[in-house]
């Protein structure tokens, strides 16, 4: 190859590599847009709401006076609703995931179930709210209660739990199952003593991600009719007098954190916007902490499991 040709090639390559560099910078800039958006969101909430983040904020009810308003009923409501959601979604989701991975034959019924799960993952959350309104609140007569909300959110995050369970189960190699069956175990025994324990971490990750999603959901809860101004707490689940356990709280009206944020954001007064910022900050913090925990769990999982 003549030196002349070599020089021409080198010039061409330099020109092309300029595009490489340009795109490298451009891609990084685009990533920075996301980082910037997130940072400004966080900063805005922190700055506007920081003053309100004191103990009384967490222990007061909402009030017409912005300075006295707090998120007590909201976070208690969120906790109770999350309890119902977890109680319903996790067993159902794990059971469904186990069925689909260990028991389901490859036939049209299984296909329908799988198609359904994929579709439900993409249904807008407000449609779940409509389902809950028509079915749970009125048709089943559960009313505008914590139970309705918990069931709705459970259905909403069910696909997340199912997918996480399935992926966790799929990563268990076949020879573990074969070893169990070879010892004479039944299918359920294999699932109970091998499959479930080994996939627990993955299931846990999915559960946390689902809960993080559920805790921030507003639309379905509004649609059910959660009231935005609640200045009382639902009846306590446990009490000192018999019967020691009560389920009255399930049927109680309630509010949740995202709705409180919504309520205060909609008020024009700057003082309420501070409250909204503070409540939003708490909500984002909870969501991020849960998501962060799940991501960290997944990362540790990948490093630890050695078959």
């Amino acid at each position: 190859m003549q030196t002349r040709d070599l020089a021409a090639i080198r010039k061409l390559i330099a020109a092309h590599k300029r595009w490489d560099a340009v795109f490298g910078v451009f891609g990084l800039l685009c990533l920075m847009v996301g980082v910037l958006a997130f940072a400004s969101l966080f900063a805005d909430m922190a700055i506007r709401g920081f003053d309100r983040l004191e103990w009384s904020f967490f222990t007061s009810f909402p009030s017409r006076r912005a300075a006295d308003a707090g998120i007590l009923s909201a976070w208690v409501g969120s906790t109770l609703v999350m309890a119902v959601t977890a109680f319903v979604a996790v067993p159902l989701g794990v059971a469904a995931g186990v069925y689909l991975e260990e028991y389901a034959p490859r036939n049209w019924m299984t296909d329908i179930i799988e198609i359904n799960i994929t579709n439900l993952a993409g249904v807008p959350s407000i449609v779940y709210g409509l389902l809950a309104l028509g079915l749970f609140v009125y048709q089943f007569g559960l009313g505008q209660s914590i139970l309705s909300a918990g069931l709705t959110l459970a259905l909403l995050i069910l696909p997340v739990v199912i997918v996480a369970t399935r992926e966790a189960i799929r990563s268990i190699p076949q020879h573990i199952r074969e070893g169990s069956y070879a010892l004479g175990a039944t299918q359920w025994q294999t699932v109970r003593y091998h499959i479930l324990p080994y996939s627990l971490a993955g299931i846990l990750t999915g559960m946390i991600i689902g809960m993080a999603r559920a805790i921030g959901e507003t639309a379905p809860i509004i649609t059910i009719g959660a009231l935005t101004f609640i200045a009382f707490l639902p009846p306590a689940p446990v009490s000192a007098e018999p019967p020691y356990l009560s389920f009255e709280w399930l049927m109680s009206p309630f509010t949740v954190m995202p709705i409180q944020v919504f309520n205060w954001t909609s008020r024009p007064e700057a003082a309420f916007q501070s409250n909204a910022a503070a409540a939003g900050f708490v909500l984002v913090f909870m969501t991020l902490a849960m998501n962060g925990l799940a991501i960290w769990l997944r990362y540790r999982l990948r490093k630890n499991i050695k078959w």
Binding site: F23, A95, N119, V123, I126, L155, G216
Partner: protein
């Protein structure tokens, strides 16, 4: 010689007589079948959910459409369900949905695609390990908080440059919605690109191509159906978004395609009704189901197409 008694540590699981053995076997089989049925029912819950959704939407909509003709529903240019002279033109709400979604997608699709290409083909390993979880977190922020962000940060910021911008407008909501959807588009697109086998990339590099050339001329065309699936799922997400629009775009139905105006989307309208006091069974109450049905049909179509494309793409590689 007597048979030694079973030791205390061994479970007495092995019956001795043949009769007892087959009885135990039958009991075991029944137990296994019951467990399998329970698990099967759990899996069926997803089908029940879909059936429930379809049932409730159609049930209430049927009642609605007995009072309002479908033609009117689709062609009327006013949406005033609570007036005495009530109009039910879904176009009004659709215009809000379409406009805000267009704004959102015009941000999410370019940004998401570029980020996907960058992370898949350019970024060093360490950067990917940090960026991917970060994008997941970005997508996990509750939408009400994004709504807050749109109303109380983005709108004032835009008003700084364009003072005539109304406090409620589709533009802010659309922009924030776009940022929210970026992780969706980028993660699915990136998965599609990573699924393209290395042998194709090696073939391109061996011909003297740069990273940019390989990414744009070989990897992206090879991943195109997966990327298209990402776009379609992004569209579905934008159309179905509620809170950002309810908070930042106002809840005033307004037939417009101008993002600088306030308008209600289908989803925001449902929220508005739910916040109010509508008696169960009234036409006003039923409008939300009719609106919900429209929404559901559209997102369902998007999701089916998107997932079919994704599945076909996975099978190709």
């Amino acid at each position: 010689m007597s048979v030694p008694a079973p030791s205390a540590t061994l479970p007495a699981m092995i019956p001795v007589t043949p009769g007892a053995r087959s009885a135990a076997r039958r009991a075991r089989i029944i137990r296994e079948r019951i467990i399998e049925s329970v698990l099967f029912l759990a899996a069926l819950v997803s089908v029940f959910t879909t059936v429930g959704i379809v049932y409730i939407l159609v049930k209430e909509s049927v009642v609605f459409f007995q009072q309002v003709s479908i033609v009117d529903f689709l062609t009327d240019t006013q949406w005033t369900p609570l007036f005495d002279d009530a109009h039910f033109g879904i176009m009004v709400l659709l215009s809000g949905t379409i406009t805000s979604s267009l704004v959102a997608l015009s941000i999410a699709i370019p940004l998401g695609t570029v980020i996907a290409i960058y992370l898949s083909e350019f970024a060093p390993f360490k950067l990917r390990e940090v960026a991917k979880p970060f994008l997941e977190l970005l997508g996990g922020v509750p939408t009400i908080v994004y709504g807050y962000f749109a109303l109380l940060f983005v709108t004032p910021l835009l008003q700084y440059f364009y003072p005539e911008l109304p406090g409620f407008n589709l533009l802010s909501a659309g922009i924030v919605m776009g940022i929210m959807i970026v992780p969706y588009v980028s993660s699915i697109s990136e998965d599609a690109m990573r699924a393209v086998p290395m042998s194709l990339r090696e073939g391109s590099y061996a011909m003297g191509a740069t990273r940019y050339q390989t990414a744009t001329r070989v990897v992206v065309p090879a991943a195109v159906s997966g990327i298209a699936a990402a776009y379609i799922l992004g569209i579905s997400r934008a159309v179905g978004e509620t809170m950002i629009l309810a908070v930042a775009a106002g809840m005033q139905p307004n037939l417009t395609f101008n993002p600088l105006e306030p308008a209600a989307t289908i989803t925001a309208y449902i929220v508005q009704v739910a916040l109010g006091d509508l008696p169960h069974g009234s036409v006003g109450y039923q409008t939300i189901f009719a609106a919900g049905l429209t929404l559901m049909l559209f997102t369902l179509a998007c999701n089916i197409v998107g997932h079919a494309m994704r599945k076909r793409f996975r099978e190709a590689y």
